[in-house]
Amino acid sequence: MVSLNAVLGVATMLFGIGLYGLLQRRSLVAMLISLELMLAAVSMNVIALTSRAGADASMGQVVVLILIGVAAAEAAVALSLFVAIHRSAHTIDVEQLSEMKG
């Protein structure tokens, strides 16, 4: 059996990579990808923690199923917004979408 910490470690790294992408990428779509990676890390966490002996495995799976739904919804809203933004601003470079400040 794989040790719990190994899975948690992978999830943490995945979360970290997602975070890096979120903070660094200029493309909105790439940022969304990063976010999805973070959500996947969360899912991995949940499954790891609920598939141990003595844990409520079905609960974990239900939660992750819901998370998948959330991720889909997120993608839908975010992507539609990106399209709309591109339509009016002709860019989806987040660094250029920084008119509002102060």
Partner: protein, 625 residues
């Protein structure tokens, strides 16, 4: 004893009521105002007379609590009737009455006529209150109020710059002394729990509760008030300037009564002052120097009222000298006679001024002054009294003072006092000659026929002058009566005992008059004094011994500088700090706003960084579990 008490209350209340009525209701009714004022003061005068007769010896006091105090009993105010206070009350009300009558003529037609009588009544009430007060704090209250009245009356013609400035100077300068007075009173109240005059005198005396040191401190503080009010020592320069007020006011406040309040205070608290011999020595020398110094200034003054003012300072110094040397009777005697002849001198000079429309003696001389009979009589007899020529009143009282000095003060003091007496005779005579004797008769050689109103005015002014002239011959004989009344145990001073002292004084007086005659009076005299030959000295004398300049250069300038410094500090430092804080806050806001830089990834990064910090902090604070 309720009769005298009621009389005393009446004497204070009547002028006060008159003052209130005039200032509040009769400002547009001059005749009524004057009538009310004179009637009220007449009542006061009658009451005072009654008091003098009723209180032949001993003392009576009636008090009511006026101010609740920490001790639970409170400060009681009331009237203290004894020989000293009743006599002073009589002097005050008499002179005031005379001045009020005189003013009917002098102030006739002035737009502020009613106001004038209102202030005058206020002064009378305050002065009588001061005299009759049973509590030293009460004395202080009225002391300040006469100061206020003095301010208002000096500045009576407030729309002229001179009187306004003079009033300001007088008020502030006397306040300097009053601060000492107030501190003294506070100190007494603090120690004694109250400031009832007989009690504090008793406590200061032998067997009393006060330590000598305490008595000395209190006495010197009170002395500051005396010096300020009686225009002594370094604080006298306000008095010459105070002559900017109407002449009757000068007569009443600034020679006869108010400035004598300081003398009265020393007499009133003589028991206390006597218990502080060092302070008395200081007072003695202050008054000696003042007497001579003021005389030198009078010698060179060109303005008749200023001459009289300096002479007031000088004569007040004589009174204080006597008190400092230990004789209440002599000092008070001189106070009484001085009140008479100085009021007379002012009122007479007022008549001249009224006609010549000038205060300058040489100017008056040009307006045929001798045509004013009453005034001429008054001026001459008053000056003789001032010069101390027998048998005028001044002679007797000054004699009493000098005699006291001779007994108690030592040779040096006596020499100075005699020097002063000689100078007094000189400047008195100078004044008479300068005023009365022949300038070229320009101006109004043929005076127009006086109207009826002018005649009435002349009468109003003439009668008091003549009465007072007569008094200069009478008051001199009251010395022994006064002495018996004020210090019954003491040996009565012989009025007409021509020993070495009186002869010296008379000789000096003669010398002074003769000198003045040679320089000013004789036909073809150069009409310049011997001092005029030394311009520097003359300037020194004429300029108040440069004291005003000294004050101007030191105290006034320092105050101005301090004030401006404080103002600068207030605006730049304190206010600047406040404004700076506000500006800094705004600037801080602008700087913080830069965090909101528009880069959304930065926002997320900050949030994540904070959370990382939280994780580390939690692990650190709670320990990894």
């Amino acid at each position: 004893m309720s009769g005298p008490i009621q009389a005393a209350l009446l004497a204070q209340a009547a002028p006060l009521a008159a003052s209130a009525a005039i200032l509040l209701g009769l400002r547009r009714h001059p005749a009524a105002a004057a009538a009310v004022a004179i009637a009220a003061l007449g009542a006061g005068f009658a009451a005072s007379t009654y008091l003098v007769l009723a209180v032949a010896n001993g003392s009576a006091m009636a008090q009511a609590v006026w101010l609740p105090m920490a001790d639970g009993r409170g400060l009681a105010f009331g009237v203290l009737l004894d020989t000293l206070s009743t006599t002073m009350a009589l002097v005050v009300s008499a002179v005031t009455l005379a001045v009020m009558v005189y003013s009917l003529g002098y102030m006739a037609g002035d737009p502020g006529f009613a106001r004038y009588y209102g202030f005058l009544s206020l002064f009378a009430a305050a002065m009588l209150g001061l005299v009759l007060a049973s509590n030293l704090l009460q004395t202080l209250v009225f002391w300040e109020l006469v100061g206020l009245a003095s301010f208002l009356l000096i500045g009576f013609w407030f729309d002229r710059p001179g009187p306004a400035a003079a009033a300001r100077k007088a008020f502030i300068m006397t306040r300097v002394g009053d601060v000492g007075f107030l501190l003294g009173v506070l100190l007494l109240i603090r120690t004694l729990g109250n400031a009832t005059i007989p009690e504090l005198v008793a406590q200061a005396g032998p067997g009393g509760a006060f330590s000598p040191r305490f008595t000395a401190i209190v006495a010197s503080l009170l002395l500051m008030g005396v010096i300020g009010k009686s225009a002594q020592g370094p604080l006298f320069t306000w008095l010459p300037d105070a002559m900017e007020g109407p002449t009757p006011v000068s007569a009443l406040l600034h020679s006869a009564t108010m400035v004598a309040a300081g003398v009265y205070l020393v007499a009133r608290l003589h028991g206390l002052f006597a218990a502080a011999p060092d302070v008395m020595r200081v007072l003695l020398w202050v008054s000696l120097v003042t007497a001579v110094a003021a005389a030198t200034m009078a010698m060179v003054a060109e303005d008749i009222k200023r001459v009289l003012a300096y002479s007031s300072i000088s004569q007040l110094a004589y009174m204080l000298m006597a008190l400092a040397a230990g004789s209440v009777a002599a000092g008070f005697f001189h106070l009484v006679t001085h009140a008479g002849f100085k009021a007379l001198l002012f009122l007479s000079s007022g008549i001249f001024i009224h006609h010549a429309h000038s205060n300058a003696m040489r100017e008056i001389a040009a307006h045929s002054p001798t045509r004013q009979r009453a005034a001429t009589i008054g001026l001459v007899s008053g000056s003789l009294a001032l010069a101390g020529v027998i048998p005028f009143s001044g002679y007797f009282s000054k004699e009493a003072v000098l005699a006291t000095l001779g007994v108690h003060a030592g040779a040096a003091a006596l020499v100075l006092a005699y020097l002063g007496a000689g100078l007094t005779a000189y400047y008195a005579a100078r004044m008479v000659f300068l005023t009365l004797r022949g300038g070229q008769q320009h101006g109004s050689p043929t005076a127009p026929h006086p109207t009826l109103a002018q005649q009435a005015a002349a009468t109003m002014m003439g009668v008091p002058v003549l009465v007072l002239s007569a008094l200069t011959l009478i008051l001199g004989w009251t010395g022994s009566w006064l002495a018996a009344r004020l210090s019954p145990g003491a040996e009565p001073h012989a009025a007409l005992e021509l020993g070495a002292g009186p002869l010296t004084a008379l000789a000096l007086a003669g010398l002074g008059i003769a000198l003045a005659w040679r320089e000013y009076g004789a036909k073809g005299a150069a009409r310049t004094g011997f001092v005029d030959r030394f311009p520097a000295l003359r300037a020194f004398f004429a300029d108040n011994w440069y004291l005003d300049r000294l004050y101007g250069a030191s105290v006034v300038r320092a105050a101005g500088w301090l004030s401006r410094a404080a103002r600068w500090h207030d605006q730049q430092v304190l206010d600047g700090a406040g404004d700076g804080l506000a500006a800094g806050t705004t600037r801080g806001g602008r700087m913080l706003a830069r965090v909101q830089g528009g880069q959304v990834q930065m926002y997320v990064a900050i949030a994540v960084a904070v959370l990382v910090a939280l994780a580390v902090w939690l692990a650190y604070a709670e320990g990894l579990r």
